[in-house]
């Protein structure tokens, strides 16, 4: 394992590892991933992350803000590569961490984890530049084929646990706000609170007027950072289990009416141009009724009604997905039934957006409350919703940490690796 740790250290310094080592790493990763179901079961607490897109230095910033592996349990929802100039280092680091801490790291596939897309959007080119041949790209693409298509988070708490993050000592005295039933909390990169939404009042607030998130440097004065001592909050008494959270890169598919249906896919293939597997990786939620045509050329648009029926039929309280740039880093839609999480700040080094990660806490009730296996078929009623049972499950308490791009000086100038020798 010391080899692996050495590779991790080298990648953390943003230096690629030798080709032979990549091959071995991919081989090990494949052994692990082949044992994962198409939808991986993950237990809270977990930190859910969106697109990374080869922005290595921002990934480091993400770990700084969200806590390091293995202290924090991470779930990355795909699109590790392309666009940014360090796709290789970013993906290999995540893969190393997956192999090193298999239970603390979940990687699912995004639409960019594909041979076709990576040849156009940069990853192929990057591998060619950094190794002189496409072999490493081939190894990585092989691993892409084994990545799970989704994850389901169980046992997320409905009550927010106090932030684990270290808070400046001066701020630790203000503890007036930990006791209320907070559903959503938005924190800036240093752990100070930007916004809070008590349960019941959050609906419709988030996403629309999220402009406060941009002012992360000046958090609202009236809400201080949470205390570390957690007065009045006792584990297990207020925290109860919420419905499960489904995580996919893109969204829903008209061909998939239940989470169990995803199990019937043979995922070991290049992302197809259509069909259920394609839709899971390509679709987007939109303010429409039912299904719509996606302007992307693959996948569909789906409306609030689709999400609500799906969540109800599958005992989900929420869907978390990535795939779309949101300037505020995250955006909840459709009465908080679906959230987009975006984790690439200043996307493409010029979009000026902030990024976010989503923390779901652990309920105090142990694992029994919602334990279920992926093989538990017929759990859903196939999407037929009985009118009298139409109760929206309590959403899990959500803590969003918003962060900005890594300071420019810390990373050097982002650039591609130039070609060394030339004949022509």
């Amino acid at each position: 394992m010391s080899d692996l740790d050495r590779a991790i250290a080298q990648l953390r310094a943003c230096r690629p590892i030798p080709e032979a080592q990549v091959r071995e790493l991919c081989h090990k990763a494949r052994e692990l991933l082949i044992e994962e179901g198409n939808v991986v079961t993950v237990k809270a607490p977990v930190t859910i992350c969106g697109d990374i897109h080869g922005q290595f230095h921002d990934l480091m910033e993400l770990f700084r803000v969200g806590g390091d592996v293995p202290d924090t349990n991470y779930l990355f929802m795909g699109d590790f590569v392309d666009r940014g100039f360090y796709s290789l280092e970013s993906f290999l680091l995540l893969l190393c961490l997956k192999v090193r801490y298999p239970d603390r790291m979940t990687l699912i596939r995004g639409n960019h984890e594909s041979r076709q897309i990576t040849t156009v959007y940069g990853f192929y080119d990057e591998c060619l530049r950094k190794y002189g041949s496409a072999n490493v790209w081939r190894y990585c693409c092989e691993v892409f084929d084994y990545l799970a298509l989704g994850a389901i988070v169980l046992g997320a708490s409905t009550a927010l646990e106090p932030s684990k993050q270290n808070v400046p000592a001066s701020a630790a005295s203000t503890q007036d706000d930990v006791d209320s039933d907070i559903e959503i909390e938005v924190l800036s990169h240093d752990g100070s609170i930007i916004q809070k939404f008590p349960r019941g009042k959050a609906r419709g607030l988030i996403g629309q007027n999220n402009s406060a998130a941009k002012r992360s440097s000046s958090p609202a004065a009236k809400t201080g950072p949470p205390g570390t001592g957690a007065s009045g909050w006792s584990r297990g008494s207020t925290g109860s289990s919420s419905g499960a959270v489904l995580c996919v890169h893109g969204g829903l598919s008209p061909l998939i009416d239940g989470v169990d249906k995803i199990r019937l896919l043979d995922r070991k293939q290049e992302v197809p141009h259509e069909g259920a597997m394609c839709d899971l990786l390509w679709s987007d939620p939109d303010e429409i009724d039912g299904w719509g045509l996606s302007p992307r050329g693959a996948g569909f648009l789906f409306g609030a009604d689709i999400v609500k029926v799906f969540n109800h039929a599958n005992d989900l309280s929420m869907i978390a997905r990535a795939h779309q740039l949101v300037m505020e880093g995250f955006k909840e839609m459709f009465d908080n039934s679906i959230v987009t999480v975006w984790s690439a700040p200043n996307y493409c080094y010029r979009c000026g957006n902030v990024a976010a990660i989503l923390e779901l806490g652990e309920d105090g009730m142990g694992e029994s409350a919602h334990a279920r296996s992926n093989g538990d078929v017929n759990r859903s009623d196939g999407g037929i919703m009985k009118e009298n049972e139409r109760v929206l499950l309590a959403g899990p308490a959500r803590r969003y940490r918003v962060f900005q791009a890594a300071p420019q000086d810390s990373r050097g100038m982002p650039a591609k690796k130039p070609v060394a020798d030339y004949f022509l």
């Binding site: 897109h53 019937l264 303010e287 299904w291 050329g297 740039l325 999407g383 130039p418």
Partner: protein, 862 residues
């Protein structure tokens, strides 16, 4: 930043009412204060002239924000009224001023800007008019630069950079005065004095010059005498104040340029260096700040230089003779041979950027000089880099035109030489480098593909190959003979490792063997689809089905997975011949065992098994179902965690093993079964149906945009060609090809009550599940057709970027400008209004894109 219009400045607030023409009535949008100014646009990073009206009672509300365009047709009516038509929406707008003076000020700004814009388009008029006065002047004059006046120089360049006219003026000035040359001595001076502020200013100035997107300026900055100076300035990026890049060090390092055969023409040598510098500029210096127009300009320049270089090489027989002479016996230096191969590799990589018609003569000349024997030599080289280069060259030619290579192979056969395909097979069996192996496997597939040989240069037809090859191939006799010979002899050698599995008990293999099996299975899957009857009898006589079934018990899970994929392929073909081979050979047994073995777990292998049987259920292959129930009823009875197997048993029992006819389909309404009543899907009709399939496919092939889209995707694949045919291997495509046309209304209703996942094809209008809210998935084909015009479209960008890479001619240049402009307006519109976008499917793509921007989609997501 915003330039002040002289006294009185229009940015003084002017009280005004905003009107909009609705149903031929002027609708009052509110009262506010009007400003007109150049406002910095975050998207374009330019300052854009705008007219803004801020609400009187709610100052944060903007009543109007409009960009002044040339074609807006602003008019001043009476003393207090300005009217125009909003170009984006076509709505007539009016501003009614409280005071004539306010109106006059705004009007002066608007008319100045518009006059200036007109002047850009017709420069002749601009000269003889008095509109090019004051700050809009179309010529600038900068002082000779010194470290002392750099701040002023930078400021005036900056202020000119906000208008098109200003930019034109800078370009004119910089070129006529050779201004860059004047700046360069300052770099060294400032470095000597450690004057970082000046260096940052110099860097900003150089960046501004480069981002003017002007070809002559771009050529200037890479000119021999200026290049290092410009790069020097660019090393001090004020965005990274504590960093210094080392561009000069990199570019001036000796020995980067390798000359295998001396190029006599000095001009060509110069071009080679210029291409390298431009690429460096694109990849390193400007990587972070490159916008689309600059990217296009750089690519266009690179493209032109590269075409010239290749043109020079291919029309220079002496050079080619020297080059290929390196591979003759006289040359003893292995190093030189290696470099020659790498040189040819780079030539071919460069040739990929040429237009297809220009590529053909290039490859033909190379082939005529003996490229094929060079490839054969290089494929056997003990240095892996050389083998990689050889496969790269081979694959680039195959991608361009496989038939060209086949003809050379036929020639080899005629001359009794070892054909290239045999060399490839030998190599595949022993090659250890996985990359080389993958490329060789792909090359073998394409070379033996009888369908993909038509239309050598016409890429659209070639790119349709994925679909074309599934059609009944129109094989030319020579190719047919070639394939036949292949099965007589070479195929036996190729698949020998599989055949040798016979009588082998132990399924433990080395990694090398495992990867070999995986490629062989992949190739075999491909042959099964392409060579209909040859492959059938080959598989039958060599008992390859049994051999591959043995691999299902390998301890390597991914080998199992690949073996399973082979059978999934056979079933997917819906060919009774293979179905019979599988039932008679009892080949379902190991698959069923594999499922049972993996059953308690939810993992990839188990899902793949489920998908396999689910396909049989979905496609309702009754002979297989009967076979399964008759032989494995007990085993299947115990598999209850999915309903597939209970479903098989019920179906079988309902029909006592007879063919399940349409009448029985009522049963299925209770179950989770998608049924597709298929009258006449019996054996006898198999062929008829197949023909229908083919005809249908042809129809879609020739007329459908979807295929066109796919074709363009493929084209872009070919362009970069990491793998030659990644699209070929989608076995799931098969399901979508069965004609659904026979389903009548009654069938659709019965489908409604069942689950949708399997039966509702995107193309079908079958509704999904019965939940009232769930709407049917929309029709796909028309969707894609409409998407064609959509610029935000991600898949479409695949082809877009192809255009970028290859043929950035002046034409595509301007079109990308236009495109960019369009996306600006989208962004602008999207950025300012953050309300939820209610977009229905029926809206036009243009509006749709705008809406996406508003939804925060910004760059189109990812």
């Amino acid at each position: 930043m915003a330039q002040a219009v002289p006294d009185p400045p229009p940015s003084n607030k002017k009280r005004v009412k905003v009107y909009e023409l609705r149903n031929s009535d002027w609708f009052d949008r509110g009262t506010g204060f009007c400003t007109a100014a150049f406002i910095f646009d975050e998207v374009s990073r330019h300052e854009i002239p705008r007219v803004l009206v801020q609400s009187e009672d709610q100052p944060e509300r903007i009543l109007l924000e409009t960009k002044i365009c040339k074609e807006d047709g602003f008019q001043k009516q009476q003393d207090t009224l300005i009217v125009w038509t909003e170009p984006a929406t076509g709505v007539d707008m009016a501003l009614s001023f409280q005071e004539a003076e306010g109106c006059a000020t705004i009007w002066k700004f608007v008319s100045n800007v518009q006059a200036q814009m007109l002047a850009i388009n017709c420069p002749d008029d601009a000269l003889d008019d008095d509109i090019s006065v004051d700050h809009f002047s179309s010529s600038i004059s900068l002082p000779p630069p010194t470290l002392g006046n750099l701040p002023e120089v930078e400021a005036s360049i900056r202020s000119c950079n906000v208008t098109n006219a200003g930019r034109e003026a800078i370009i004119k000035f910089v070129i006529s005065e050779d201004y860059i040359k004047q700046l360069i001595p300052l770099v060294e001076m400032a470095e000597d004095m450690e004057d970082l502020a000046s260096l940052h200013k110099l860097c900003n100035i150089m960046k501004t010059f480069i981002l003017l997107n002007d070809n002559p300026i771009m050529e200037l900055v890479v000119r021999d005498d200026l290049m290092l100076g410009v790069m020097g300035a660019l090393e001090y990026d004020p965005d990274f104040p504590s960093h210094k890049a080392n561009h000069r060090h990199w570019l001036s390092k000796e020995g980067r340029y390798k000359e295998v055969v001396h190029i006599e023409d000095e001009k060509v040598r110069k071009k080679i260096h210029i291409v390298y510098r431009l690429q460096y500029l694109k990849d390193v210096v400007l990587a972070r700040i490159l916008d689309d127009p600059t990217y296009s300009v750089l690519n266009a320049l690179i493209y032109y230089q590269q075409s010239d270089i290749l043109q020079h090489i291919q029309t220079n027989p002496a050079f080619l003779k020297d080059l290929f002479g390196i591979f003759s016996a006289q040359e003893t230096s292995q190093e030189r041979k290696k470099e020659a191969v790498l040189f040819i590799q780079q030539c071919c990589a460069t040739a990929k950027c040429l237009q297809p018609p220009a590529r053909t003569p290039f490859y033909n000349i190379m082939l005529a000089h003996g490229l094929l024997s060079v490839i054969t030599f290089a494929l056997r080289h003990n240095d892996v880099a050389v083998r990689v280069a050889a496969t790269d060259v081979l694959v680039s030619m195959i991608d361009h035109d496989p038939h060209m290579i086949r003809l050379s192979i036929f020639r080899q056969i005629a001359e009794k030489q070892t054909p290239l395909t045999d060399s490839l097979i030998d190599l595949l069996l022993v090659e250890v480098d996985l990359g080389v192996k993958a490329q060789i496997a792909d090359a073998i597939k394409v070379l033996l593909d009888p369908g993909s040989q038509n239309a050598p240069v016409d890429t659209s037809a070639k790119a349709g190959g994925e679909f074309g090859i599934r059609l009944r191939p129109q094989v030319d006799p020579q190719q047919a003979e070639f394939v036949k010979d292949f099965y007589d002899d070479s195929a036996k050698r190729l698949f020998k490792p599989l055949v040798d599995l016979k009588d082998r008990e132990n399924m433990e293999f080395s990694t090398h063997q495992v990867s070999l099996f995986i490629y062989l299975i992949e190739i075999l899957c491909f042959f099964v689809r392409q060579h209909t009857h040859h492959s059938k009898y080959f598989i039958l006589s060599e008992k390859l089905g049994h051999r591959i079934a043995q691999l299902l018990s390998s301890p390597e899970k991914y080998l199992k997975l690949n073996a399973l994929k082979f059978f999934r392929n056979l079933i997917g073909l819906q060919d009774e011949f293979y179905n019979q081979q599988m039932t008679q050979g009892r080949l379902f047994e190991p698959i069923l065992n594999l499922l049972i073995e993996t059953m308690p777990r939810d993992n990839l292998l188990n899902s793949a098994c489920l998908e396999f049987f689910d396909l049989i259920k979905r496609e309702h292959i009754k002979n297989i179902i009967s076979h399964l129930v008759e032989n494995y009823r007990d085993k299947m009875k115990d598999i209850t965690y999915v309903d597939i197997f209970q479903n098989f048993i019920i179906r079988y029992d309902q029909t006592q093993g007879f063919a399940i006819s349409m009448e029985t389909s009522f049963l299925d309404t209770e179950e989770d079964t998608p049924k597709r009543p298929e009258p006449g899907r019996g054996n006898r009709w198999e062929n008829g149906i197949k023909d229908l399939d083919a005809a249908e496919e042809e129809y879609f092939n020739t007329s459908d945009d979807e295929d066109d889209l796919a074709a363009r995707r493929r084209e872009s694949m070919y362009d970069t060609s990491p793998t030659s045919k990644p699209l070929v291997d989608y076995p799931s495509d098969e399901e979508n090809e069965n004609p659904e046309t026979s389903t009548n209304a009654a069938d659709i209703t019965s489908d409604l009550s069942s689950e949708s996942s399997a039966s509702s094809k995107p193309g079908g209008e079958v509704a999904s599940n019965s939940a009232s809210l769930a709407l049917p998935p929309p029709e796909r084909l028309s969707e894609k057709r409409r998407r064609e015009e959509d610029e935000e479209d991600e898949i479409g960008k695949l082809s877009l970027s192809k255009r970028r890479n290859s043929s950035s001619s002046a034409g595509s240049n301007t079109s990308s400008m236009l495109r960019r402009k369009k996306s600006f307006t989208n962004h602008a519109g999207g950025g300012s209004t953050n309300k939820p976008n209610k977009i229905a499917i029926s809206l036009s793509p243009a509006i749709k894109t705008g809406g996406d921007g508003g939804g925060g989609g910004g760059e189109g997501g990812s």
